[in-house]
């Protein structure tokens, strides 16, 4: 079990480093276990350094940087242990447009072999979807699936 965990961990670590570098061009990150501690007990450290910045503890990174770092790790886990499909609920919310584009570029590659269900408010993410479902509450408190044109119109009307 120890060896299995160790092997999987090493694979995830490698994918994390690669994915992080795609999200943060010129940056680097790492995932490490404590030295001399049983891997099954050890705490897992994340270090991340966007391009040009000095390595500091991860809590000093910005909200968007932390979110994208976490997505890189989730994607790394996903590459090592894929599930048949993957659901994302507004993970793109804290990202600026440039980072959403980097996120989508990697997502589209994965989506060639895996189904993704992506809940989003982000217009760039919506454009990347192959299929789009709108959910509205035309009747108070009752959800209804609609074609996206109707959903967009409902949003615009509500935005007044």
């Amino acid at each position: 079990a120890r060896r299995l965990f160790r092997e999987t961990f090493d694979e995830i670590r490698e994918k994390f480093q690669v994915t992080y570098a795609r999200f943060f061009p010129g940056g680097e990150a790492d995932l490490t276990l404590e030295a001399d501690v049983d891997p099954l007990e050890s705490s897992i450290e994340i270090t991340a350094r966007p391009r040009g910045k000095r390595l500091q503890s991860i809590n000093l990174l910005s909200g968007g940087e932390r979110a994208l770092t976490a997505i890189a790790l989730l994607f790394a886990i996903y590459q090592v242990k894929p599930s048949p499909w993957c659901i994302l609920d507004e993970v793109d919310a804290p990202l600026d447009d440039a980072n959403v584009e980097r996120f989508l570029r990697v997502l589209r590659e994965f989506a060639r072999h895996t189904q993704f269900i992506m809940v989003t408010h982000n217009k760039l993410s919506m454009s990347a979807a192959d299929t789009l479902h709108g959910v509205t509450m035309a009747e108070e408190g009752v959800s209804q699936l609609v074609s996206v044109q109707v959903a967009e119109q409902a949003i615009d009307e509500a935005a007044g």
Binding site: P84, I87, Q115, F116, V119, T131, S143, I155
Partner: protein
């Protein structure tokens, strides 16, 4: 194993029977705040066997049953079905299309069905074992997870990685 569609009936804000089809690649789900998008995500987790009400924002499992609106009475049952294409034989069951159904009644009674045939929760759990689906799977990524992953409390990060490894 592709997911084909999800049928939601009486689950949270889905008063009407609603069928949601998933294509290849990326299926986007959009709409205003509070319209039911995260409820769709939770319906998928629930039908795949989620046993903790707290994992889907409830206090008790009965919270998933449509609670009524100003104009509609509460329903007595919630039913969700998920249909997947099993042509690759990933599920150890001899059907090319597999539908998992879960029902919950206000009485607390639960039904589980496999291709419309009643079965036990255990049968569903065994079926989904090793597929990367089922509760606790990291195949649902939502915003709370970001904080858990980069948090300084390494137990959260540990837990997420352990489920994968």
């Amino acid at each position: 194993m592709r997911v084909s569609h999800l049928d939601v009936f009486g689950f949270k804000s889905f008063y009407n029977k609603t069928s949601i089809h998933f294509g290849d690649g990326i299926t986007g789900i959009v709409g205003p705040n509070g319209c039911g998008k995260s409820n769709v995500v939770e319906a998928i987790r629930w039908v795949l066997g989620e046993q903790r009400a707290s994992a889907i924002r409830g206090h008790k499992m009965e919270d998933v049953i449509f609670a009524g609106t100003r104009n509609r009475k509460p329903l007595g049952m919630s039913e969700v079905s998920i249909t997947v294409d099993n042509n690759e034989g990933m599920l150890p069951i001899d059907y090319s299309e597999v539908t998992v159904t879960r029902r919950l009644f206000r009485s607390g009674e639960s039904d589980y069905l496999l291709n419309k045939v009643p079965c036990r929760l255990l049968d569903i759990q065994n079926l989904l074992m090793d597929t990367g689906l089922g509760p606790g799977a990291y195949s649902v990524m939502e915003q709370g997870m970001v904080d858990e992953i980069v948090s300084e409390k390494t137990e959260n990060r540990r837990r997420i990685l352990e489920e994968a490894a």
